[in-house]
Amino acid sequence: MPELGRGPRIVGFLCDFAVDASALTAPDGTMRQLPNVTLIKVPCSGFVRPSWLEFALRNGAEGTFVCGCPLGDCFNRLGNNLIGDRVVQLRRRFERQKIHPDRIATIYFGLHDQEGFLGAVKAFSDHVAQLPGPVVPPPRPAPTRPAAGARPPAGTAAQPAPAPEPSSESGQTAQGES
């Protein structure tokens, strides 16, 4: 839920070898100049599972991004290209699920490019702020067929290990269309 005057809630994954954001970040992980953005440090941009980006959107974030090293200069050689490809695929999946694909993004900035990083995150935050509608579409209503056992609403999800479901203030059920 956007809080007025603060901008949309954004969660960013930042890899250890990309831009050095230590001067831009408060101890709790929020960015000083953009308090609606929280950064989570990961060992490589390629470490990020696409399911975590979806998890963030279903748990209160309005936008998430991954920041890796400049394309061609990943410290681990392939990570930024791989997360780029995975996010492209995830955006297409989101379109089918009626989640706006612009809510996720990949950006690439090197160690000393704090200005570029700040500018890109600000632009992303502003863009997400004016995206329409709920972050994830509301779950489908349960079918009204009378049955002996109650059916779980909104279909079953075929995940081998179900993600933990924290109580969320926004009141969305975590298992939507997956």
Binding site: R9, V11, D16, D28, G29, T30, T38, I40, K41, V42, P43, C44, G46, F47, V48, R49, P50, S51, W52, F55, A56, N59, G60, A61, P70, L71, G72, D73, F75, N76, R77, L78, G79, L82, I83, R86, Y108, G110, L111, H112, D113, P160, A161, A163, P164, P166, S168, E169
Partner: protein
């Protein structure tokens, strides 16, 4: 003190990147493709070298004449000779850029040491290739190089005389010299490819070609230089006297310039020290990430119950640290029960980057000290703040 100096060098290197990325789009930045540039020049060298090899005669009387024949009589011979000459310089420059960049950006740590070691040997043998190449022309410079090398080898205590006679092929300079030099030149080129196999063994999808912009630029520069400053021989070698001045190619012949001020033994000792130090670079810093004070997530672990043998982690691991083996037993989840293959992480190659974790759609890989649940907890916390 060393790690502070390294940090400073990393700093300058990456600030240089910011400047270059203002001029060139990121995927055209040449410093990201130094390995590919080296391979480009090596390919040009091998192709032009085969052409030259077809006409070269390794004997005292005929070597110089055969090179002149290539230059003046063979169609396009002068161009191929010039291409070979300038591609060699380009190769050395690209290799040195590759060396310094990978050194200054810490890309040799922990499990990335083998490309470094093989790379040091590649650098060393590249130097030898350049010297033998200059000797093959058998002009005044060649004669001087042979004499200086012989003297330097002869200065080694105890085995100096033996080394010198091995270099020359007999007690003094004789007709056995040039075939030996040709053998060293071509043989070392083959050895380079063997070392390159070792160089690539721990690397998936090695970037062996630079972007088109730089391929065109490098080839264009080589041809332009060939036309503007044609490669030419010095006056032919004289059997009676040894010339005293050397026309220097700084990229390959720097040690010979150093012989003007250093004694041969000192030069050799310096060369050994530098080489040994270079080989020691990956092992100079503490052994473990924890000791270095950087993130220590642990070697990637395969979750047996979930692995379906889909091979996505195998294809994505940048260091070839994951191998697929026939599944020893079925997994637990429905999809894992039907698996034919099973992923195994080679601990000696894993750098704990976690790219395999991001690749796996079945939650069958984790970094022990940075689990999916840890990440999700951080996300939830971030969404609450």
């Amino acid at each position: 003190m060393y790690s502070r100096a390294l940090t400073r060098l990393l700093d300058w290197t990456l600030r240089l990147d910011v400047a270059i990325n203002r001029v060139y789009p990121e995927d055209f930045n040449p410093l990201y493709y130094t390995g590919g540039l080296s391979n480009l020049f090596l390919t040009v060298l091998v192709l032009s070298g085969i052409f030259l090899f077809l006409y070269y005669i390794p004997s005292f009387n005929d070597a110089y004449i055969s090179v002149q024949f290539i230059t003046n009589q063979v169609p396009y011979g002068q161009i191929v000779r010039g291409v070979h000459r300038y591609a060699a310089d380009g190769f050395m420059i690209a290799v040195l850029l590759h060396f310094f960049r990978n050194w200054f950006t810490d890309r040799f740590q922990f499990s990335r040491d083998e490309p470094w070691i093989s790379g040091m040997m590649l650098l060393l043998f590249t130097g030898f290739l350049g010297v033998t190449g200059y000797v093959l022309v058998w002009d005044e410079r060649s004669q001087l190089l042979v004499a200086m090398t012989g003297r330097t080898l002869g200065a080694v205590p105890w085995i100096g005389g033996y080394l010198q006679s091995q270099w020359l092929g007999s007690a003094g300079v004789s007709n056995l010299l040039l075939p030996r030099m040709l053998y060293l030149h071509v043989g070392l080129a083959v050895l380079l490819y063997i070392l390159l196999w070792w160089h690539y063994v721990r690397i998936r999808h090695p970037k062996v070609w630079p972007p088109a912009v730089w391929t065109l630029f490098s080839l264009g520069l080589i041809f332009l230089l060939t036309g503007l400053v044609p490669a030419a021989s010095q006056p032919p070698a004289r059997p009676d006297a040894v010339p005293s001045s050397l026309a220097v190619d700084w990229l390959f012949l720097l040690p010979y310039v150093a012989l003007k001020v250093l004694s041969p033994l000192v030069l050799l000792a310096l060369a050994v020290v530098i080489t040994v130090y270079g080989l020691y670079i990956p092992y100079q810093l503490p052994e473990t990430p924890a000791a270095l004070g950087i993130r220590d997530s642990g070697i990637a672990q395969v979750i047996d119950a979930n692995c379906t043998g889909c091979e996505l982690c195998y294809y994505d691991c940048p260091y070839n640290a994951i191998v697929m083996v026939p599944s020893p037993h079925p997994g637990v989840t429905k999809a894992a029960q039907a698996r034919k293959l099973y992923a195994i992480v080679l601990e000696s190659r894993c750098v704990e980057c976690g790219i395999c974790v991001g690749a796996c759609p079945f939650e069958a890989l984790e970094l022990p000290r940075l689990l999916e649940s840890d990440v999700q907890q951080k996300v939830v916390q971030a969404c609450r703040s």
